[in-house]
Symmetry: C2
Subunit: 178 residues, 2 copies
DNA sequence: CATTTCAAGTCCCAAATGGAACTATAATTG
DNA sequence: CAATTATAGTTCCATTTGGGACTTGAAATG
C-alpha cells in the first residue's frame, strides 16, 4: 500500500493532519490528472456523500423513499403537476415516479383529480399532511446544505448559485431525456 | 394543469421559446422559494440528468457497472489501493465495492496481490486491458462534461473548479461516513 | 371519421443495491 | 501474552430500481 512503509506506526504526516485526511490524499492526485472530468466526478461525489445519506435518514425517519420526498418537494412549490411534469423536473423515469405517486396517494400525502382536458393525465396536489412532512425534511436538507457550504464565503455561495443557475438554464443542451 | 387553458393549441410562449422549456418553467419557481436547499437540489439533478445516463451508456457499451467504472478510475490515478481506500474516496458502501472488485478481477481488468504488511488487505492495481477500457470511458465523461459546462465562460469554469475544491477539502465536516 | 401515430401512466420482471451478520486478521490493553 | 476490540473484506437476503411491454386516451393523417 502507498501508505505503508515498515514501521506501521501510522504515517506521521497523515496522523499529524489530524483525523484521516486520507480522503484528500487519495482524491487530490485523481483531480490533478489531465483530461479528467473533475467537475462531473466531484458533483457525483456530492451525490454519494451528501444526498445519499440524507435520503437514508429520511427513509428511516419518515418512511419516504427518494422519489417520494422529491415528489413532495415538487408539489410543495408547484401546486398542480402531472406525473410527467414530475418526471421532467426531477429527471427520473416514469415508472419510478408512478410508484412513488401511488405510495404517496395511499398514505394520503397527496391528492389526484382527473385532468378535465386530458383523460390520460391526473392532476396532483399536496395534502396538508404531505406539506407538514415536506417541511420537516426541508429543514434537514437546509441544515446539511449549510454544513456543506460552510467553507465557502458569502460571495462564493452567491457565485455557486449563479453557476448552477447557468448550468440548469442550458440543461436541454446536455441532459439526457429519460 | 397550469399549462392548459382551453384552446390547447399549446401555450404559445412555451412553444415560442423553442422546444419545451417546460423544465425551466417548473424548476424556476421551485428554486425561487425561500428556505430551499437550492444547491443540494440542483447538484442532485446533475446526478440524475448527467451521471445517471452516462453510467447507463457505459453499462450498455462496456458492460461495466457504476462502481466498476469508478473503481477503474480510482486505480488509473492511484496505482495501488485497497478496497477500503476505494470505498473512502468514492463514498460507497464496502459490499458494493467488494462486488465490483470481484467482477473486475474476473474480467481480468485489475489485479490483486496480498498486502505483505496486513493479511486482511489486498493491494489492487490496474491491468492494461482495464486501463484501455478506462480511457474509452474517460473520453465519454470528458465530452459530456464539456457540454454541460458549455454555457460557462472560461472564468466561470475556473471558479466552479475552485469552489468544488473548497467543498471537497472540507468534506469531513459535512460528509456522512458509510 | 377510420386509421395510424403518439403521449400518459401502469405493470412485470430481472437486475442492482445496500444493511447486517459473519470470517479472518490486526491492534490494544491489562 | 491471553482476552478484547477494531478493521478488511465477503456473503446473504430483502428491498429498490428501471427497462420494456402494455393499456388507454389524444392527436395527426388521408
Amino acid at each position: 500500500m502507498t501508505t505503508a512503509k515498515k514501521s506501521r506506526k501510522a504515517d506521521p504526516r497523515g496522523a499529524a493532519t489530524r483525523g484521516s485526511s486520507r480522503f484528500l490524499e487519495l482524491l487530490e492526485p485523481m483531480m490533478a490528472a489531465p483530461g479528467v472530468a473533475r467537475d462531473a466526478y466531484r458533483i457525483s461525489l456530492v451525490g454519494n456523500f451528501f444526498n445519499g445519506p440524507i435520503y437514508l435518514v429520511i427513509q428511516k425517519q419518515f418512511g419516504l423513499l427518494r422519489d417520494e420526498i422529491n415528489t413532495l418537494f415538487c408539489l410543495a412549490h408547484f401546486p398542480e403537476l402531472s406525473q410527467t411534469d414530475i418526471c421532467l423536473v426531477m429527471g427520473r423515469p416514469k415508472n419510478s415516479v408512478s410508484r412513488a405517486i401511488s405510495r404517496l396517494l395511499q398514505r394520503g400525502l397527496i391528492a389526484v383529480r382527473d385532468d378535465p382536458d386530458d383523460g390520460r393525465k391526473g392532476v396532483l396536489s399536496l395534502r396538508p399532511e404531505g406539506y407538514r412532512l415536506y417541511q420537516d425534511t426541508r429543514r434537514l436538507f437546509e441544515e446539511r446544505e449549510a454544513q456543506m457550504l460552510a467553507s465557502l464565503t458569502k460571495a462564493d455561495r452567491a457565485t455557486l448559485d449563479r453557476l448552477l443557475t447557468k448550468i440548469m438554464a442550458s440543461h436541454e443542451d446536455w441532459s439526457e431525456l429519460f
